[in-house]
Each structure stands twice: as C-alpha cells, then as structure tokens.
Point group: D2
Chain length 141, copies 4
C-alpha cells in the first residue's frame, strides 16, 4: 500500500442505515467527504481557515460511485482517499470504503471517484486553487 | 380542527428510515421544520428574504419530542404546527406528526414542542424578532 | 417534454443545506430517490408492498452525478426521472434537478445517472426483477 | 469528572452544518447517539448482536435538547453520556456536547436528556430490558 493513499476509520451508526438494514447509499458520500477532509487536515490544509484567508473553498463538482457490497450497523470501515489528478482549478480523488473481514481480509464495499473544484465562496464561480495549496497537494501526488 | 393549526403533508422515503425498519427519530425534527417553514411561508414570512433584509434569522433554541408510535417507509404523514407562545425575542411551536389510519382515524406518532429564538445571523446573538413579523404571527395566535 | 419523463417538485429546507450556503451535494441523491419513488408509485409500483409480497427490493448499484449550479434555501426545484435502460435484473434512470428562473426559464443544477438492481431483501444478492414489474416499466419505456 | 461519565470525540464535517454556517440542530441527536452507542460498546453491549440474540432493541422514546451555543465546521467536540436513571423497561441518559476553547476551557454547546425504551424488534412493543444488560448498566450507575 502506497503512502500516497490516506486512510480514515468510519464506524456505522443508526443514523447511517436505512430500512433495508444496510448503509443508505447516499451516506458513502459523507464517509468519503470525512476521509478527504482528514486527508487535507493531515497535509495542513484547514478548509475553514482557508475560506477565511482566501475567500474560496473546495466544492464537489462530480461524483461517481459503485456500490458493491452492503455495510451494516456497527461495522467498522476503512475509507481511503488518493489524489489521482490535479490541475490549477480542479482535482480528482479516488476513494474506497472497505470492511476488514476476519477470515477473508479486506472487502471493498464502495468505490468512488470525486471531482473537486475551487470556487469563490461568495459567487460560487470557479477560480484557481491557491498556489500554496496546489504545491502541498502536488508534493503528495 | 382550529384554523390556528397549520398542517403539512410529509411522505416517508428511504432516506428517513433506519435499520430498525422505521423512521429514524432525529428525522421528526426535519419533518417539524418543514411544517414550520411552510407555515411561515403561508403567513408571508420568507426566511431567506428576511435574512437578507434584516440580517437576522430564526434558530431553534429548545426541542422536546415524545416518540409514541413508529412510522414506516411509504407512510403518508400529516405534520401540524401551532404557535402556542410568542414574546419579543422568542416563540414556542407545538407540533405533531400523525398517520391517517383507514380504520381507526388519525394516529399520533410524535409530539414536539419547539422553542424558537431570533438571532443576528452574523453574531448568532439573540435579538428582538422584527416587529412586523411579530405582528403577522400574533394575528394568527 | 415527453410523457416518458416523470417530474416531482422538491422544496429546499434548512436540512438540505450546508455551511457553504447551498444544498449539500449528497442530498441530490435524496431528491433523485424521492422522484424515482414517486414515479414508481405513479406506475402502481409500491416498494414497501413489493418487498412484503416478493421478498425482494430495488437497490442503487451505481450513481453518477454532475453538480452544475448550486441550489439555495427556499428554492423550489423540479426533479425528473426517466427510465433509459431496463433488463431482467437492472435498470438505469436518468435524472435532473432544475430550478425555474423567472427570467431565463429552467436552470439545470444537477444531472444524474442512477443504476438500479433488484436483490433478495434478506441475502441482498441480485435476482431477476419480478416480471410484472418489468412489464409495467417497459410499457413506459 | 466522575468515571460514570463516558466521553466520545466528534468532529464537525460539512454534512453536519446548514446554511446558517453552524451545526444543524437535529444533528446533535446523531452526535448523542454515537456517544451512547460507544458507551454501550465500552460496557460490552453490542446492539447489533443483542438484536440477533434477544430479538429486541433499544429505541429512543423521548428527547429534550437545549441548544446553547453554535458549533461550526471543523470544530472538535466532546460528547458525554451518563446513565441517570434505569428501570426494568427504560433508562434515561443525560448528555452534553462541549467544545474545548483554548482560552476559556470547555464551552457547553448543547445539553440533552434522552429517554430510552426496550422493544421487541418485530412488533416494536415495549418489553423488559434483558436482565444481563440491566446488570451491566446498573454496575456503572
């Protein structure tokens, strides 16, 4: 496993499930967001502080998810985030949610590709990602 | 049924349920919020416009809910909102969620009492509710 | 506008927004789900009853969303659902969320392609969609 | 601080906030649920396993929350759970969400009192809490 891939643990609570007895599919977008946020924080990029200092923010522009196997209440998941493309105005993060099965090893439950853009927080129009943020991210690419 | 009580229909979708097969209890706060918002809109009070014109907004300061019976996927609920107290800085809304049962009539699933305050949208500090809003609400009290 | 395209109104409430002041992107999956559910109900397909009678249920297997423009608090959206592919075990629904702008007409905020599979509700393993459901859907295709 | 009080860290993500720029009030019920679940797990009570072995489950029957101060994106909160009453069929948990302020120490954002009942998972009718669970909880009371 490359060091370029960031991992974050996510526990499944009642709030995450639906009447099918499994994690509601829309909630994987929340799990993926948490891992991306912690990955950025790990790199020293604080989104709240960035918004105050630059007037801009990251927004999700595209999401593509494949739901392979269900997660259930009390499951402990590992969510990954890996930067797979970055340009001056956008980046792509590839992510997975896995459950560690004691007998078979890691089982991949969901795979996602998330497109991220940088926008002006007031106008929400696309702008260039602040150069020092691009530098930090490219060093890890 | 008094005219003072506002009613709003709410359908139960997958997003509202949990692995117990019923509506997740926290979501009644969302259902109650929708009914309060539509009640205010019905009285000509648009929260988004109010915030732009006055710099203030309503926030929930207290919530007290009793969960009596469960709601399930596809249930059609009727959510009520009734102003039961108003002062210069706060108000209390009493709310219920009911399901219409074909044989027994309305069945009350959840009863709530919601305390609302008015705050400055920037500082989030309590302020007086704009007088024209109080007037509109008191006329309906 | 073809009759094959189903439309459903969705109002934006506080619960749908995030600190960016706009609808949280994961919530478009909820809006799309509501429209698909109402489209199925419109065709006489009740998911809750189907599960009781057949032991199976529809699940989302893939989702692909493009977020084009933001929606905000109090916005009134129109969400579409159109069946664009169906086989014995799966189908594809193409969906949009639009806001009606008084001066420019409809503005598309989000476009999605949702892959749906039919599974055994206990084992969650893929099975064939009940034939009478396929028939109903194909008649509308 | 008594050992009887359990604490659990909760980070605020985009999913938790609303257009007011603060944590959406309904989400404190989620934060409190996470802390209660981890408290039970800490005592060796696994809700998923309990449901399989006894056919019953805990449900929230009442909730009473006071929202004192707002939490914001990226805030790190500490959520407490303390068993303050238990009988054969129900219990009461008192909870708080606090933010650690570097200059002033802990700031209490939300205080809650949650009533919990034990129900048959199929019928959802109240039943007695399994005696071994009551024993475990009373030892910690």
């Amino acid at each position: 496993m490359s060091e370029r891939v960031f991992h974050w643990p996510v526990r499944v609570y009642w709030e995450d499930t639906d009447a099918g007895g499994i994690v509601f599919y829309a909630n994987y977008l929340k799990f993926f967001e948490r891992a991306r946020t912690e990955w950025l924080r790990h790199l020293g990029v604080n989104q709240h502080a960035l918004r105050d200092s630059t007037g801009g923010m990251f927004v999700v522009s595209t999401s593509q998810l494949n739901y392979l196997r269900p997660a259930r209440l009390d499951d402990m998941l590992t969510v990954s985030a890996e930067l797979t493309q970055i340009s001056r105005a956008s980046m792509t993060i590839t992510q997975t949610a896995q459950r560690m099965d004691e007998t078979t090893g890691p089982v991949t439950l969901c795979v996602g590709t998330i497109g991220i853009a940088w926008v002006n927080a007031q106008t929400l129009r696309p702008e260039r990602i602040p150069p020092h943020v691009v530098s930090v991210l490219q060093d890890r690419h």
